[in-house]
């Protein structure tokens, strides 16, 4: 299939890695939703798909949180990126594999700097999520 050491291989690997996590967190989020939402949607005339949309809407913040958690897991991941990507410069090198490489070379300062950038990215995504959450709540009206 000539997928090894390609960007596609990393993407497929990461998807396989986060699917169970994302599924578990989404199921947990949706199952926590009050059963009355289901019955209310049905009694107001919704079909199964419309009812599912209602439940998904009510669980939206938890679902987004699950996505953010999965994203955090993926960007901090190194094993799959290294094994399937091969850490080829300018092609399959990710932040985490670059950090590992610099660490191996003894370039600790650069490795730590890359780590801080990665932390900054993760932090910004979380901030963005919280901002969106506030905006969505305000838009409820």
């Amino acid at each position: 299939m000539e997928l090894l050491y390609t960007q596609q291989a990393i993407i497929i690997g990461q998807i396989i890695l986060i699917t169970p996590l994302l599924t578990t967190l989404t199921i947990a989020a949706v199952s926590r939703i009050d059963k009355r939402y289901r019955n209310t949607a049905l009694t107001l005339g919704a079909d199964r798909i419309q009812m599912a949309m209602v439940i998904f809407w009510e669980a939206r913040f938890s679902v987004i949180a699950a996505i953010i958690a999965a994203y955090g897991r993926v960007i901090a991941e190194i094993g799959i990126s290294m094994m399937l990507g091969g850490n080829a410069r300018g092609f399959t090198r990710t932040m985490t594999t670059a950090m590992a490489l610099e660490y191996d070379k003894g370039e600790f300062t650069l490795a730590v700097a890359l780590g801080l950038i990665l932390m900054g990215v993760a932090f910004s995504i979380n901030m963005l999520f919280h901002l969106c959450q506030g905006r969505l709540r305000a838009d409820d009206l």
Partner: protein, 344 residues
């Protein structure tokens, strides 16, 4: 008729929560479902709203047997709306909540707006149109939930305890709304309640559920009791006091010391003129609380340790007319007491 129920049962695991042999509910009428907690009122409403499937038996709606396919159920649910005891709103505005059902019925936007405003006006909540539904108080939530149901112009409105957990003012408001929509829009209403006087006033017909079964319209005079050590004697405990009654001796299926529900026939309670009763079982002194017309006779509500309803013929009442607040003596004979069937 709107519903026809035949041999309907609902079981949760092995526990039978509903067992109705035959029941017909008429179109355009208000039916009240009464009964103690856990008697199956909410289960029956969920079945009538097509939100739940019976374990066995049939429900026919408008003369047709129900098909349990997804599309058939969606079509039926669009004619029947259930208002929950604790209504829940989607996390949007009141207006958007009311719009939900209309949107999925593909009603054009201008008509949607008109119907929403009419429904909000009916429940006196026009000013709450843009409020977030989660910020409403208990009474407002109930009224908004009624508006959300009424905007869909259903054929049947099912209400689970519409008067529960709201103040007297909101209770009156809800009472009037239900009366009005039944009178003007001819919407059939089935509601459950613990408020017997209100239910009697509002409903054309009342049904009493006990342990999942219909109890012959026995609206009042049902009391949980324990068989006494003396055969044929029963005691009703009210706080620290007991009321002793004579009843059936060794009724079938009743275990010693097992709680059972006693029904006192309001027609068979004897009203005495004098106030000198012995302390025998079934002899009670009570205070008259209410006197009103009931069918062709008179109903008296009297309060002792228990609240008793008596039915007198007009002649009996004329011979011995008690006044509100007056102490009266009552004799509940053995033949006035029956034991309601219980389920294990």
């Amino acid at each position: 008729m709107i519903y026809n129920i035949s041999h309907l049962t609902k079981k949760y695991r092995k526990r039978v929560v509903l067992d109705i042999k035959e029941l017909t509910l008429k179109r355009g009428r208000i039916h009240a479902l009464l009964g103690p907690n856990g008697s199956g009122k909410t289960t029956l409403l969920n079945l009538l709203a097509f939100l739940d499937t019976p374990t066995s038996g049939t429900i026919s709606f408008l003369g047709k047997n129900i098909e349990r396919t997804e599309s058939a159920l969606v079509a039926l649910r669009r004619k029947v709306v259930l208002v929950d005891q604790y209504p829940i709103f989607f996390s949007r505005s009141v207006y958007h909540n009311l719009e939900f059902g209309l949107k999925i019925r593909k009603i054009p936007k201008p008509t949607r707006k008109k119907r929403i405003l009419q429904a909000l006006e009916l429940v006196g909540m026009t000013t709450f149109s843009k409020s977030r539904a989660h910020t409403l108080s208990g009474g407002e939530t109930k009224r908004a939930a009624l508006a959300r149901a009424l905007v869909l112009q259903p054929e049947v409105l099912l209400c689970d305890e519409p008067f529960a957990n709201v103040d007297t003012e909101n209770q009156e408001h809800i009472f009037k709304i239900l009366q009005e929509i039944n009178g003007n829009q001819k919407i059939s209403i089935i509601f459950s309640s613990h408020d017997r006087p209100k239910a009697e006033l509002l409903a054309h017909e009342t049904l009493y559920l006990n342990n999942g079964s219909l109890a012959d319209n026995r609206l009042n005079n049902v009391f949980p009791s324990i068989p006494d050590e003396i055969p044929g004697q029963y005691k009703i405990q009210i706080a620290q006091k007991y009321v002793f009654l004579k009843g059936p001796v060794n009724p079938g299926g009743l275990h010693k010391q097992r709680c059972c529900n006693l029904y006192i026939d309001p027609e068979k309670i004897k009203l005495l003129t004098h106030n000198h009763l012995s302390s025998e079982p079934g002899h009670i002194t009570a205070t008259v609380q209410e006197i009103r017309k009931h069918r062709k006779g008179i109903k008296i509500i009297a309060q002792s340790e228990i609240r008793l309803h008596l039915h007198l013929s007009s002649k009996e009442y004329r011979n011995n007319p008690p006044l509100v607040g007056q102490k009266i003596s009552l004799i509940i004979a053995q033949d006035a007491v029956t034991i309601l069937p219980t389920q294990n």
